[in-house]
């Protein structure tokens, strides 16, 4: 989404493509401006009205309500100031000092790092391989793109069968049994692994004082499985625009295939990589569905991500009205993402 526009009009044929660049001629600009602008507002109004009512106002309400104490059973309502229970910035200070928040933040950070990394590496590798292949590309690409149509709720359910701890039901444990490993416990340096306990206790990475539980990874893998298709599509789109002359020139210069990829293809794919990384990050922070379906955040709080914590606080913790705190988490999450994505937004914010 946020690559440079240059790729729609690659440098080699930019000269012939000027007709698609939407610069209205001076005459039309002068003549039709008034009525056209009026039409533009008419065209925009319905969408903007829905946008205001079902996105802008709820978002503003989230922000405002994060300064009040409330729960679902005694909701904060803008039109009933007599029922407000002001909380000042307490919801933010409580959140930022709570162990639950930081536990969930750590799990979300694991998502934010591992998910985009795996998506980019795997889909880049697969795209390049498929690009190299001459036959069957349609089949390979379809097989890999197919899971991206599946809802993450269903992805969680489907992978639940793969992860089933019973070797008579779960494919992974059947494979472990076949090679005679069973439920093995391994210790490799700081890495503690429990093979076969995929969703309960697959292992811990001990980083000094910080223990990173690997259960998150076991949920990230199915999500990657589903998301790689998007990466493959994006990279394939990017590959079509790698200037053929450059590749040829590199070959003529006697570069090996790997050198060509390294010095010509990958640099040309930079914009696509940025797209996939940014979208994966956005996606990773939103995570809710697949965690809700597979582990519900457990065991203990091992897989509780921010999206789930917020949901629990708003809709599950009735005895301690925490919707205000949930709203604070939503604001913090959005702030982080907007800050991270602002450069890309800026670039995209000025349509020609």
């Amino acid at each position: 989404m946020m690559t440079s526009r240059a790729r729609t009009a690659p440098p080699t044929n930019a000269g012939q493509n000027t007709s698609t660049v939407p610069v209205p001629s001076g005459r039309a600009k002068r003549r039709g401006r008034g009525s056209e602008t009026r039409l533009a507002y008419i065209f925009l109004a319905p969408l903007l009205a829905i946008f205001a009512g079902f996105y802008l106002w709820p978002a503003v309400a989230t922000f405002l309500s994060s300064f009040f104490t409330w729960g679902m059973l005694n909701p904060w309502r803008a039109d009933q100031p007599d029922t407000w229970v002001p909380a000042g910035i307490d919801n933010y200070t409580t959140t930022l000092t709570s162990a639950d928040f930081w536990n969930a933040a750590l799990n979300s950070v694991v998502w934010l790092i591992v998910f985009p990394f795996l998506v980019v590496v795997i889909s880049l590798a697969l795209s390049l391989l498929i690009w190299e292949a001459k036959k069957g590309t349609g089949f390979f690409r379809s097989a890999i793109i197919l899971p991206m149509t599946i809802s993450l709720a269903a992805v969680g359910v489907i992978w639940g069968f793969i992860y089933n701890p019973d070797p008579n039901k779960g494919l992974l444990n059947a494979a472990l049994k076949l090679i005679g490993v069973g439920n093995a416990d391994l210790n490799i340096g700081p890495l503690e692994l429990h093979l076969g306990r995929w969703l309960s206790n697959p292992g811990v990475l001990h980083l000094g004082g910080l223990d990173v539980r690997l259960t998150n990874i076991m949920i990230i893998i199915p999500a990657v499985w589903a998301f790689v298709g998007f990466g493959v599509i994006t990279f394939t789109a990017g590959l079509t625009s790698v200037p053929a002359e450059l590749v040829e020139a590199s070959k003529v210069d006697g570069a090996s295939r790997w050198q060509t990829i390294r010095h010509v293809t990958l640099p040309s794919l930079r914009p696509s990589i940025v797209v996939v990384v940014v979208i994966s990050i956005i996606f990773a922070l939103r995570t809710f569905d697949i965690v809700f379906v597979t582990t519900g955040g457990g065991p203990a709080q091992d897989t509780e991500v921010l999206g789930l914590l917020l949901w629990q606080q708003a809709f599950q913790f009735l005895d301690s009205p925490k919707a205000g705190q949930a709203a604070a988490i939503a604001i913090i999450m959005s702030f982080v993402l907007i800050a991270a994505a602002m450069p890309f937004l800026r670039k995209n914010g000025n349509p020609s």
């Binding site: 533009a40 097989a143 599946i150 809802s151 379906v293 937004l345 349509p351």
Partner: protein
């Protein structure tokens, strides 16, 4: 490495990758068509003679049909509303000039970036205020939320299709005396149609696959199939036959769309990716 070996390795890796990518779905499909006593011994060793479609019937009659109908209503309604308000707005962004264009565009695009949780929490009281909290009004409510939250994507994708239309075509229409609206409806819209079809498919799949909104905003009678599937899966009961059949039914409509209209689907995402 000789070129033959290279080709062999290449295809070997791709074949293995394709298998890895297909096996989870095949596994769920296999469990879905086997009686429970077969699949619990390992679906890969099951007797093919025992294959049955009874599980689908049981899970469908057991309540999934209602969820599926809800999903269909929500998805179709969301797509229709998004299409109705999105195409005209996207055309305005792609082809027209107006004040605060850049600002409004950025505002809409934020929906692509901020987590959906930013609007989720106050929606229940808000729906209550608007009267969208009961009966079939809930369908409209969630469809409007999908439209609003999908506004960024729809503007982003649809305007890319309008931008691809050569300018002379629209200008010549105007010179011929047709108004701006006519240029849109008679020239731009038909030309953008293939792109719009791609968008419809992607938007449909996106809405069909939503769990969080359906779970949070709707009552038991109006919830989508993703929630139905989560409910089947939630209690740890010995019903893998029903769960797997349910999961296959839930993924079938998007998969069919994908299989039948693959070209449009990939093209839509492709266009989005290229436009970037």
């Amino acid at each position: 490495m000789t070129s033959q070996w290279r080709t062999l390795t290449l295809y070997a890796i791709l074949t293995v990758a394709s298998i890895v990518w297909i096996v989870p779905v095949v596994g769920a499909g296999a469990i879905a068509v086997l009686p429970l006593d077969q699949s619990t011994k390992g679906w890969w060793t099951a007797d093919p003679a025992t294959v049955t479609f009874a599980n689908f019937g049981r899970v469908w009659d057991g309540g999934l049909s209602g969820y599926a109908v809800n999903s269909l209503i929500i998805a179709v309604l969301s797509v229709l509303i998004t299409l109705a308000v999105g195409t005209v707005a996207a055309y305005a962004f792609a082809r027209m000039r107006f004040r605060f264009k850049g600002f409004v565009h950025v505002m809409l695009l934020t929906t692509m970036i901020v987590p959906v949780q930013i609007i989720l929490i106050p929606l229940i009281p808000w729906f209550r205020t608007l009267g969208l909290n009961n009966g079939s009004w809930q369908y409209l409510g969630i469809a409007l939320v999908h439209t609003a939250f999908g506004a960024g994507w729809s503007i982003f994708m649809l305007s890319s299709f309008f931008e691809g239309i050569p300018n002379e075509l629209l200008e010549s229409a105007k010179i011929d005396g047709a108004g701006s609206f006519k240029a849109f409806s008679a020239i731009a819209l038909p030309l953008a149609l293939p792109g719009i079809v791609s968008f419809v498919i992607i938007d449909f799949v996106f809405v069909w696959n939503d769990l969080l909104m359906g779970l949070t905003l709707l009552d038991a009678d109006h919830r989508p199939i993703t929630v139905g599937l989560a409910n089947l899966n939630a209690p740890q009961l010995n019903q893998d036959d029903l769960i797997s059949a349910g999961s296959i039914l839930a993924i079938l409509p998007p998969l069919l769309l994908f299989a039948l209209l693959n070209r449009y689907y990939v093209k839509g995402l492709f266009a989005g990716a290229v436009k970037g």
